[in-house]
C-alpha cells in the first residue's frame, strides 16, 4: 500500500487535508466487510485494502497494477462487462451492480458492487472508487435461518420426547391433517428406531376434536410403529373424543388407549417391567 503521505492518490475523496487522509486510510484498512479499492481511469487497481484481501484473496503487491477485470468471471469479461461498467459510471457518476465475482483461487461469490466516478474540479476523470460487498455470506446466513426456522416449526408441530429409557412421548397439539400425519409418522418411527424404545405414547389431550380421517391416521401410525417392533398407547382420550369415535363407528380395537397421559405412562412403565416406588424416608 502506498504510504499515507500520497494523500491525493490513495484516498477515495479528491480534496482532503493531509491529517485526515491518514485517518481515512486507517478506516479503509480496518473495514473488513467491504473491499474498498481505487481504480485509475482505465480500470487498473491502484489501491488495495485488508477488506479486499479478505474478500478476494489477493495481496496488495499481487493485484495493484492489474486490471479490475481480474475480479470478473471469464464470460463477463468476454462480453465486455468491465468496459461497460466504467462507461456507465463515468456517465452517471455511479453504478451499482449485483453479480458474480471471482476470487484469486477461482472460486465465485455473489457480490454487490458500487463504482463511483471520481473527477477533479475541472471535470477530468481521476479514477474510480469501487466498493465490493460479499453477499454470499448473507445469502448463506439467510438460508441457514430459513432452514432452522423450518426445523423448529416441524419440531413444534410434532414434538417427540423421550420421557424415559424405552418410552417415547408425542404430545399432539391441534388437529392432524395428512401432512402433519406424515411428519408424525416419520418422526415417531425414526425416534423409536434410534432409541430402541418399545413404547410410544401418543397423547391427544391437546387435540380438540377428532374426525374419521384423523382417527385413520392414528390407526395407521399405530400399525407402522408395530411393524418396527414397538407398541403404541393412545393417551388423553377424553369423554368427548370417546363419544365422537363411537358415533363415527371407528374401530379402535387394534389400538391400546388410556384416558389420561399418566395412566398411559403407568402402563408403559409396567410394560417395561418398571415400577415407581416411594423413596425411603431420610434418603
Amino acid at each position: 500500500m502506498a504510504n499515507g503521505k500520497q494523500a491525493s492518490v490513495t484516498t477515495p475523496v479528491p480534496r482532503v487535508p493531509t491529517g485526515e487522509a491518514e485517518l481515512l486510510q486507517l478506516l479503509i484498512d480496518n473495514v473488513t466487510d467491504y473491499a474498498i479499492t481505487m481504480l485509475d481511469p482505465k480500470g487498473i487497481v491502484i489501491t488495495w485494502s485488508s477488506g479486499g484481501e479478505r474478500l478476494k484473496g489477493w495481496k496488495a503487491d499481487e493485484i495493484i497494477g492489474q486490471h479490475f477485470s481480474r475480479f470478473y468471471p471469464p464470460e463477463d469479461v468476454a462480453k465486455g462487462k468491465t468496459d461497460h461498467e466504467l462507461r456507465v459510471a463515468a456517465q452517471n457518476g455511479r453504478l451499482e451492480d449485483e453479480g458474480w465475482r471471482v476470487r484469486k483461487d477461482g472460486s465465485r461469490f455473489w457480490a454487490n458492487v458500487v463504482l463511483t466516478c471520481l473527477r477533479t474540479n475541472n471535470g477530468e476523470i481521476r479514477g474510480f472508487g469501487k466498493i465490493t460487498r460479499d453477499l454470499s455470506e448473507r445469502r448463506e446466513a439467510e438460508e441457514k435461518i430459513r432452514k432452522q426456522t423450518q426445523e423448529i416449526l416441524e419440531m413444534a408441530a410434532v414434538p417427540v420426547v423421550q420421557v424415559w429409557e424405552g418410552i417415547v412421548l408425542v404430545p399432539l397439539i391441534g388437529t392432524l391433517d395428512s401432512q402433519r400425519t406424515q411428519q408424525l409418522m416419520e418422526r415417531v418411527l425414526n425416534r423409536v428406531t434410534e432409541t430402541n424404545s418399545p413404547v410410544a405414547l401418543l397423547d391427544i389431550t391437546g387435540v380438540p376434536s377428532i374426525d374419521t380421517q384423523t382417527a385413520q391416521h392414528l390407526i395407521e401410525t399405530t400399525a407402522a410403529v408395530r411393524l418396527l417392533g414397538a407398541e403404541v398407547i393412545l393417551t388423553g382420550v377424553r369423554p368427548a373424543i370417546a363419544q365422537t369415535l363411537v358415533h363415527l363407528g371407528i374401530d379402535l380395537s387394534s389400538v391400546t388407549t388410556r384416558s389420561s397421559l399418566s395412566a398411559g405412562l403407568r402402563m408403559a412403565l409396567e410394560a417395561l417391567k418398571l415400577r415407581v416406588v416411594p423413596a425411603p424416608v431420610g434418603a
Binding site: L189, V192, L227, L228, G229
Partner: protein, 127 residues
C-alpha cells in the same frame, strides 16, 4: 453384504436370517425354501427375520414373508421380524399390507430373548 445375499445363522435353537437389501424375485422365492429347509435341519424353535437392510418391501416380497411365517408356524416354530426401516414400515402400512399378525421386535437381541424365554415355559403352558 450384497444386494442378493441371504445369511442364516443358528443361535442356540433359533435361526437368525438376515435378508438382503434388494433381492430379485427368484432370490425372494429361494429364501422361503432355504429358511424352511434350515429350520428342519436344525430343529429350530423359531426364526428371526432381520429386515434392517431391506430397502423395498413390495407386495410380492411381503406376501412371501407372511407365507413363510405361516409355514414356520405350521412346522411348530415362531417367527419374529426385526429391524424394519421407518420408510419401509410407513410404505407397507399405507398399502395396507401390515404383514398380518406377524410378530415384530426392535432388535435381534430382544427377539432372541423372547423366543428363548417362551421356550423355557412351553411345557408348563400345556399342563
Amino acid at each position: 453384504m450384497g444386494p442378493e445375499t441371504l445369511s442364516v445363522i443358528k443361535i442356540k435353537e433359533i435361526l437368525v436370517v438376515t435378508l438382503p437389501s434388494d433381492p430379485d424375485d427368484s432370490t425372494v422365492a429361494a429364501l422361503q425354501e432355504k429358511v424352511l429347509v434350515e429350520m428342519e435341519r436344525h430343529q429350530a424353535k423359531g426364526v428371526v427375520l432381520d429386515v434392517s437392510a431391506v430397502e423395498t418391501l413390495d407386495s410380492f416380497f411381503a406376501r412371501t414373508v407372511t407365507e413363510t411365517a405361516q409355514m414356520i408356524g405350521v412346522m411348530g416354530g415362531r417367527t419374529i421380524v426385526v429391524g424394519m426401516r421407518p420408510a419401509v414400515a410407513i410404505t407397507t402400512t399405507q398399502i395396507g399390507l401390515a404383514l398380518g399378525s406377524i410378530e415384530t421386535a426392535l432388535t435381534v437381541d430382544r427377539a432372541l430373548d423372547r423366543v428363548m424365554l417362551a421356550s423355557s415355559t412351553t411345557l408348563e403352558s400345556f399342563q
